[in-house]
Symmetry: C2
Subunit: 431 residues, 2 copies
Amino acid sequence: MADSGSRSTALLTDHYELTMLQAALRSGAAHRRSVFELFPRRLPEGRRYGVVAGVGRALDALEAFRFDEPTLAALRDVVDASTLEWLASYRFSGDVWGYAEGEAYFPYSPLLIVESSFAEAVLLETLLLSIYNHDSAIASAASRMTLAAGDRPCIEMGSRRTHEEAAVAAARAAYVAGFAATSNLAARHRYGVPSTGTSAHSFTLLHDTEADAFRAQVTALGEGTTLLVDTYDVTEAVRLAVEVTGPGLGAVRLDSGDLAVQAAEVRTQLDSLGATGTRIIVTSDLDEHAIAALAAAPVDGYGVGTELVTGSGHPTCGFVYKLVARESDAGELESVAKRSVDKPSVGGRKYALRRRSATGVAEAEVVGVGHRPVDDGDDRPLLVPLVRAGEVVGREPLPAARERHLSARAELPVAVQQMSRGEPVIPTIQE
Amino acid sequence: MADSGSRSTALLTDHYELTMLQAALRSGAAHRRSVFELFPRRLPEGRRYGVVAGVGRALDALEAFRFDEPTLAALRDVVDASTLEWLASYRFSGDVWGYAEGEAYFPYSPLLIVESSFAEAVLLETLLLSIYNHDSAIASAASRMTLAAGDRPCIEMGSRRTHEEAAVAAARAAYVAGFAATSNLAARHRYGVPSTGTSAHSFTLLHDTEADAFRAQVTALGEGTTLLVDTYDVTEAVRLAVEVTGPGLGAVRLDSGDLAVQAAEVRTQLDSLGATGTRIIVTSDLDEHAIAALAAAPVDGYGVGTELVTGSGHPTCGFVYKLVARESDAGELESVAKRSVDKPSVGGRKYALRRRSATGVAEAEVVGVGHRPVDDGDDRPLLVPLVRAGEVVGREPLPAARERHLSARAELPVAVQQMSRGEPVIPTIQE
């Protein structure tokens, strides 16, 4: 079974995490208590909010981050013997706080706080960033799509356009951000995301006639199935579809051409044939803008592929993982930060809350540096415990993340609904 | 061990492949001999050539495409009992031809030809597309980067900016396209890609002083190591680096600021300190254009991250997998194609060769529809056998793909070296 959760994830990391470990073990600094922070310096250009996803996957990956015998063997030419010995008993024993999955984020939101020894925490850098950067990019794009789609369901069908394992994570992230279903069967199996699908053009072309293909599909899948009607002539196919199936036909799918015009024509035709309950699903190179443009068309569902799995122009989030504080020789926790003009970061342990008006509308992302910002009554704290003394405590069912996303998004100012480019809908305030 | 090759890949697919199978088994058409073709309709906008990658991974995935008990259990609510029974003995028994890994491609290059029953071949659609679309997107971007870098090595270090498994495949694809090394340890372990890395800013910040950090690193990793010199003040760090290490210091790394200006200053400083052999590695948000712009700067190597793993603006190739021919009731193989204005495809079994001048320069991509195009003496056939009667015959060591890429690219017209947007460097001729 393709279930990536059960094996060691420890090699899904960068060479330099291991060489830093070796050098820090040698210098003794490896054991200094340290605070790392995972955060974005900015939103993707023009985006008004981002969506945190991958939290559950990151917790699974953290638990599987172990250096078993084959993993150690693979590292024999990377680090020295004493480092290998240290790795053999590696087990993350620190604490992790983070934004819960599905939450909205903004520039400098402290999405993850990892507190542990330097040695334990530095090793997690690459893997945590991979998961968060990918999954949040997908969820951020997906959320704009489900917002544009309103009450109409969005179906994720981009597996073929991205790495085969990224596809599974993308289906999961899209579900968190409100997608109704996926085409991906591994996402169904691993994460319980509802899966759906009926047929492609090849199925129609396989049969001698379109009528043969429709009959074969309806015989096997029932009249509630979705027939693909644009292999030859759409009007003829719709006529045939209702003839073969009867007015109880579940849906027709359009995968090419001018979707708004065609959807209107097909709706009229279906209604005239008595198939008033037959839905129209469209699926050709959609993104949030195309979905918004189809709002007035008689469309009942959107299948989204390439633009979903590639983050609709922003396939990665650019999150970074920085050491923001570490113990001194005197045992004090000291803030640290790189001095850099073009890659700013702020040292110190962060806390965060979403400031809200009395009517519950988000007003600001408040990040406290070194202290908890004051909740002025209607605010909402954003950091929740994910790992305590090495034990995962933040696991939750995926539907919980999905519900959280809907309520976190609903709380944002209405400007969030604008698909055009703009500033973040709320400012980030560091205090 | 995170080794995705050893478990079933059969759920890494779309729901509709299974429902089509069920319907085709019911109609009897499932057993019709069929030819599927995987091909691009175009290159990414403005690109002059593409690079095929993922072939070796696709062959591994094909061998692992089996419906074992847990996989069948996962499909119990997707297809009916007789379909499950058919799947239990699934084993691809057909033939596959394809462009060899590392080969250049152009619009309508027939990258894979899959000949089998419809049932056997349709199931592979999603997985083959996932692998080819991802890996070729990375290799196509990577090839432009190594071309721009000339003799200077490129190091892949984008793992943190993409899905953790996509990262491993990206490192592999970049290596095929001429990258010298990767930061990714799983790519080292699974595919033998050389890995490299020394330290991040966190390592410097961990220690009380930069001098402490440099000493710790050199003690552990030797004077040949690469020291990161932009945590605080570059000039002071370079001075310190040579003081701590001596003139035998391997390299310094710059990760921020104006790289061309800084590289020139650092080179002068290193030379004045006698460290004439110390190399300068730059690593800040590079793409092929930034690499080309640094050609005159005293840079010895490029570390490339985000832009590599996201395909430098084109994270997917848009390859499709279409039924182009299938057996009729009479047992004849008939060409088939969707009739569509905006998504054209050409029915029929394809053959391909690269037409070359007498001096060995590529002149055209010649695609024969239903017949082999005539080799006029200097041409090179492009389709090689990958699978024969279900047995993988096209496996090769990764360095073979890497060498093939270099020679295939060298054969293209010189316009291939232009980083600006343009037309494909050779036309595709269908005959």
